[in-house]
């Protein structure tokens, strides 16, 4: 029989992790999931797939990706700063 002490489900945080730390990481994870979704079907074709308008000279379809790169960068900076105190 499996060891009854071993949890069956996922253990996302080590025991004793402060709630604020958990909350921030979960918020970041949600941003990451939304970003990933924005890069593929169906969100990318719905909102980001067109050639025009040009943004800073780049086609909308490319500017869309650069925008999400900026989102991930911003979110990572926020998470890092909040954890690096």
């Amino acid at each position: 029989m499996p060891d009854p002490d071993v949890p069956k489900g996922l253990v996302l945080f080590p025991p004793g992790t402060p709630p604020a730390h958990r909350r921030r990481r979960l918020v970041f994870f949600m941003i990451w999931v939304v970003t990933a979704a924005a890069l593929v079907w169906p969100l990318y074709p719905l909102f980001g797939g067109d050639a025009f308008p040009l943004v800073l000279g780049l086609p909308w379809s490319l500017a869309w990706l650069v925008g999400w790169l900026a989102v991930i960068f911003g979110a990572s900076v926020w998470l890092y700063r909040s954890e690096d105190r």
Partner: protein, 502 residues
């Protein structure tokens, strides 16, 4: 002086600087395996940033990326898209990996998984997988280096000699300095690549069309608007399917952080803080794909019909009126892209071959010096094999390399389960990995059998996760003390950074 000679001399100067930067740091690490493979765990943010960036972007980014943009338009955006989210998992996994490495003396990816799952077979499978995907990867880098030198010298330097010169340099500094040679040269090469890419990517649209926006407006006006709409065109010039684009992004994003030569740099970090900050800053490197893609777009109207499309960069260089010094610098930038990836792969392949393929199966572990000697020997061996394929064989390796992303992505479920699912077992991990690689390879070789036209890695991942879960639930979990190290709160080891551990 002849134009070609100026160009070649600049490339030669670049190679010389790289050689010096690679050989000198070898004196700064201990002569242990931890020194050779993980730099005694002392890499700071600056070096890590460039190692990560320059290792990801290879001669494929410099030659293939513009080639894709030139022939398939927005399809090339996929290489930008997967990098947006692909490095993030390492923010969460990396610090834990580093801590475990310092505690248990790991220097490779497979050592960690073999320990967590209590499975030597897993270590062997991962060693074989790594070497199988690394050799074509390295071969491609060598071909890129030989090719660029051949073109810019006007066929005076044959590809075999160019590849030999560039990779002779790589071999010397990887042999001498191990990962620290990779680190220092990548810092130089990475910086070089960034400057060259931004310069060329902004200069070409400006000089050929009067600006980046003007270039895209003229492209659309000339009837190329379909190339600017995501997801661009497929290899045959027809609109690419969203399923194909999306699944390629997903598989590559999951695979990116799992590439063994990138993943194992977690061990080399000086601290968890340095490692996290490196991952945070990574998008600033990733952004240089934008000018890289602009280079390809710049060729479409000005120079139609260049084939194969991968040759668009050297073609542009020989066609536009650029000073020979600048052409030389751009060529050196392309060499930098090739070598900064090739060195990391060569180093990782040899380290993994010995640490994961040989060491666990010996009855008596070799001493540190013997092991380092073996790794160096394998550096030579793998370099020679890749060089043979690069100059003497016509096997289509591009397809092999593109296919290998699906294989590498199969490590992802095992890695996530190692840290977040205590119930995952050794039997489950091994069965999941083998099933994933098997299904991936099957659909790679027989694309017509795919139920939907998605990337083969998606099917591999589905099989992988299903088998991992089912077999794990049917077998005994790892001992609690092992699990505690992976899912519990493991305090940082009390040893100062830089101190070698056995």
């Amino acid at each position: 002086m002849d134009t070609w000679l100026t160009t070649v001399l600049i490339c030669g100067a670049y190679l010389l600087v790289t050689l010096l930067m690679g050989v000198l740091p070898g004196r700064r690490v201990t002569s242990s395996v931890a020194g050779y493979v993980a730099a005694d765990r002392t890499m700071n943010v600056v070096v890590l940033y460039f190692v990560l960036g320059a290792s990801v972007f290879s001669s494929f980014a410099f030659l293939g990326g513009p080639g894709w943009a030139y022939s398939r338009g927005a399809a090339a955006f996929y290489i930008l898209a997967y990098g947006v989210v692909g490095m993030v998992p390492l923010y969460f996994l990396g610090p834990r990996v580093r801590r475990l490495g310092a505690r248990f003396g790991f220097v490779t990816q497979a050592e960690l998984l073999a320990h967590r799952y209590g499975s030597r077979a897993l270590s062997a499978v991962l060693a074989v997988l790594s070497v199988v995907v690394f050799i074509p990867y390295l071969t491609l880098q060598m071909k890129g280096a030989g090719y660029i030198l051949e073109v810019i010298s006007g066929d005076r330097i044959p590809a075999w000699a160019g590849a030999l010169a560039a990779y002779g340099v790589v071999l010397v500094y990887v042999w001498t300095s191990g990962v620290l040679g990779v680190g220092w040269t990548n810092t130089f090469q990475g910086l070089f690549m960034l400057v060259i890419a931004w310069f060329l990517g902004l200069y070409l649209p400006h000089t050929l069309y009067g600006g980046v926006g003007a270039m895209f407006e003229q492209l659309a006006a000339a009837g190329h608007e379909a190339m600017l709409r995501a997801p661009g065109l497929d290899a045959a010039g027809q609109p690419w399917s969203w399923g194909g684009f999306s699944s390629a992004v997903v598989v590559s994003a999951l695979g990116l952080s799992m590439w063994p030569h990138l993943f194992m740099k977690s061990y080399a970090a000086r601290s968890e803080r340095d490692l996290r900050l490196t991952i945070v800053l990574y998008p600033t490197f990733q952004l240089f794909l934008v000018p890289i893609l602009l280079i390809g777009f710049a060729g479409i109207l000005a120079f139609p019909g260049v084939a194969p499309a991968d040759t668009i960069v050297p073609f542009l260089l020989t066609q536009i009126d650029l000073s020979p010094v600048l052409v030389g610098l751009v060529c050196a930038g392309t060499l930098a892209a090739s070598m900064s990836t090739g060195d990391a792969i060569l180093h990782a392949a040899a380290s993994i071959g010995v640490r994961d393929g040989v060491r666990p199966f010996l009855t008596r572990a070799p001493d540190d010096h013997t092991e380092r000697r073996w790794i160096r020997g394998l550096v030579l061996g793998i370099g020679a094999v890749a060089y043979y394929f690069a100059v003497a064989s016509d096997v289509s390796i591009v397809a092999l390399l593109l296919g290998s992303y699906g294989g590498v992505a199969q490590i992802f479920p095992l890695m996530v389960a190692a840290f977040y699912w205590p119930r995952a077992t050794g039997a489950g991990a091994l069965a999941g990995l083998v099933a994933g690689i098997g299904v991936n390879t099957l659909f790679l070789l027989a694309p017509a059998w795919r139920p939907l036209p998605l990337h083969e890695g998606v099917y591999g991942l589905a099989a992988n996760v299903a088998v991992l879960v089912l077999v794990s639930l049917a077998t005994r979990p790892a001992p609690p003390e092992t699990l505690a190290a992976y899912t519990g709160r493991l305090e940082p080891a009390p040893v100062a950074p830089g101190e070698a551990r056995s």
